[in-house]
Amino acid sequence: MSDDNKITITVLYFASACDATGLSSESLTFPLPQMRICELEDKLKARHEKLKNILDICMFAVNKEYCGKDDIVKEGDEVAIIPPVSGG
């Protein structure tokens, strides 16, 4: 069973975010019961220098749903960093 005072999440990186981190995904554990997207953003910026400017123009999705910066991230969530899209 999970420790109630920490969460482990999966962060997915695509396109320019993948280039900047050299990762397509990573699993991160935080000593918190939950966190806001904006808090996660700060932690990712601290963790990946090259992601700083990119994150400023990216959107976030939690479990395949676009979300806002005040939305909550919980244990086991999948968070995707979504650079500006260019499909079509």
Partner: protein, 149 residues
């Protein structure tokens, strides 16, 4: 068994317009409108060699299906299909096809336009444009930045 009326697919195979139109063809529908997006050979004076597409596939599929639901809430659609290519797409080849069949043509015009515009705004698919002298990740002008500012 219920007959399929919505078709969404991401694929590395070449897209076949006739195959996709045949999916939406229906004897009760008098109109079929389609949009095909193809790889242009130049962009702002640079020679485009190819495009490389990648996607957050599970979310893209989910959003595309949801776009069709939204379109159906606005227009009487008989069948709809959205196919998008992933991987390398050479110049001149088709990267996306949207097809909609309706009883009357007006609705097919509106629905195709809506689906293409919304796809370009929100579906997590990314295009890297490879030129003869470099490459860059593109951004659709309409790419949404809601929730961020």
């Amino acid at each position: 068994m219920t007959e399929s009326v919505d078709f969404v697919k991401l694929t590395t195979d070449p897209l076949d317009l006739q195959e996709i139109v045949d999916l939406v063809k229906d004897n009760g529908a008098g109109a079929i409108s389609t949009f095909s997006g193809t790889t242009r050979n130049t962009f702002n004076g640079k020679t485009v060699v190819q495009l490389d597409y990648e996607a957050y596939t599970p979310m893209a599929i989910k959003l595309l299906s949801s776009l069709i639901v939204t379109a159906r809430s606005q227009w009487l659609i008989t069948k709809a299909a959205i196919y998008h290519r992933l991987g390398t797409v050479p110049v001149g080849e088709t990267s996306v096809i949207v097809a909609v069949s309706t009883v009357h043509r007006e609705e097919s015009f509106r629905a195709v336009e809506f689906l293409v515009n919304e796809l370009k705004a929100s579906v997590p698919i990314w295009k890297k444009e490879i030129y003869s002298d470099g490459s860059v990740w593109k951004e659709n002008a309409e790419s949404k930045r809601c929730c961020r500012s």
